[in-house]
Symmetry: C2
């Protein structure tokens, strides 16, 4: 199963619009060998995230900017296969920024270790217990500050982050309205996840539907999308409302445009940018709550697993056309038995 | 001097672009008479503020929305001439929302009383000790939270609010960069007010000049303008920077457009809308500091007084073409001796 080469997807061009398969080049590199203090990780799951768009840009600052030809950044869950590092041993499960490739050699900086035996399925560590869950948890609770009785609107609500945000909103007693791009997703939100309402943004009038489902205005907007929905929401926000600016996926192809902010002023609203990595030190706090809520069946999550590293460049397109169902990831190699 | 009629400017149409003189109708109404509990105020100075644009809109919420034909909203400083109210007496100086007219009858709700004898010239109450000063003070200190050594950029820096913001920024130890539309204004900022740099946004490249004058990035942006400058600033903001969204005067004619917010995310920045009326209860705190700073010659202010209520509709255009020099107001009638 371990190939003798290290298959890699490298950055071929920086996307101006959505990410295209042609933005990546396939490379077969020699198998890397760990030096003293290093160890070899075989990637099992590769997480595909909208943030990848930013990671491909030259101006990105919170992760090392890639040069053209570099192995694409990506968060993976992997297993240690060889080690010259005293702290990591073969068989250890690790989680971190190990890239779009079969194997990585690392000193372990920035890697998290996962429990070897756990009832948690491995893909959960890339979804509800990974960045996805933390993004939902801290973005909503720390920036959005929901109070019982408030109205929470979540965009991309059937997405990996949005679906957790809405469910935490319900746990906190909010009136929760989500938007999604198909009737099936909307149905999932209201019938399975307990959202109070779901709006199909492709077939309904955003403004009319928001008016109908948010009769008391909007107190919190958890923004994953940008664009037309953001504008409609700004028309209905309440005084001292909070907008959690987590993503603007619909605008990644129209940089430079954006909504009018006049409503932010008249409503003394706050828009706050947010990156989950700032909350790593509080991960356990989130994971404890999330585990409890999953046990209590108050939170559900879905994963959408694509087989094969070779399919990563096309699979990531699902994030931008909305066709993924749950947290998107690539299965790079087999799980340990 | 008191005319027998009450001359008024009434709302004729709601501006879509900038305010036009044709948005107002002149009316000569009968002199109002105070009922029990009311008193008659003769307006002396009428403040002209960019916020007037919002006050003319149907959707405005934090002041009563005007119907077409209503007397235009405006903050005035006036003198009580007749009173059937136990708390207000002829000769009292008052300050509040008494409109674009010679006279107003009121019960005094929302009015502030000014000291009858004071070394402060009356126009100061509509500028540095009025909404202008409070807007600068609370917007910068409470929302912007300046720390010594940080870089503060102020748009419309030669304007009534911006000039006070920059000077308070200097008092707090910031590196202060302002933008203005003429070389003369820029010179005033650096030579008279102590700004570290001033950028003429009409003749200089915003991006290059900001890069040059903000070598450590931008920590606080006090936004009065919107548009191109906002976009350039967003390219240079630091992590955890604060954007005080006070006005977007350049965008009042292009509602619906606005800057891209991607940079807000990567920088975990905060944009917070802000309306000075929320801080009225803390006005004394600001005024005490401002008075002290003026006494110490650490703050200067300018007023631009236009003679005659009849000129208000054309005078307000100076706010939008940048031709006013200092806090703009209209002299409606004579000061008391």
């Amino acid at each position: 199963m371990p190939t003798k080469v290290n298959r890699q997807w490298c950055l071929a061009s920086r996307p101006e619009g959505y990410i295209q398969p042609t933005d990546f080049t396939w490379k077969e590199a020699p198998m890397p060998t760990p030096d003293d203090g290093e160890f070899l990780v075989r990637n099992i799951y590769l997480s595909l995230d909208p943030a990848a768009w930013g990671w491909m840009q030259e101006w990105i600052s919170y992760v090392p900017a890639l040069s053209l030809g570099d192995v694409m950044h990506g968060i993976t869950l992997g297993i240690v296969e060889e080690s010259s590092n005293a702290k990591f041993h073969p068989g250890d499960l690790v989680y971190g920024m190990l890239g779009w490739q079969d194997f990585a050699v690392t000193e372990g900086k920035g890697l998290m270790r996962l429990p070897k035996t756990s009832s948690v399925p491995l893909p959960a560590y890339l979804s509800v217990f990974g960045l996805t869950g933390l993004t939902a948890y801290f973005g909503l609770l720390d920036i959005g500050k929901p109070k019982a009785g408030e109205t929470l609107v979540v965009s991309a609500a059937a997405g990996a982050v949005g679906s957790i945000v809405g469910q935490i909103g319900k746990i906190k007693g909010c009136h929760v309205v989500g938007t999604a791009g198909t009737d099936e997703k909307c149905q999932w939100l209201t019938e399975e996840l307990g959202f109070d309402a779901a709006i199909n943004y492709k077939t309904e009038s955003l403004h009319k539907s928001l008016l109908k489902h948010c009769p008391n205005g909007i107190d919190i907007y958890y923004e994953n999308v940008g664009g037309a929905l953001f504008k409609s929401v700004l028309n209905l926000i309440n005084v001292r409302s909070r907008i959690v600016l987590c993503g603007l996926i619909s605008q990644y192809n129209v940089m430079g445009s954006g909504p009018s902010l006049a409503s932010i002023i008249t409503n003394r609203a706050r828009i706050e940018g947010f990156i989950v990595t700032d909350y790593y030190h509080r991960a356990q706090e989130a994971i404890a709550d999330l585990q409890k809520w999953i046990m209590e069946k108050r939170i559900q999550y879905r994963v959408d697993i694509v087989e094969g590293l070779e399919n990563a460049p096309t699979a990531i397109g699902k994030l931008f056309d909305g066709s993924n169902k749950g947290k998107l990831m690539v299965k790079v190699s087999e799980e340990p038995l």
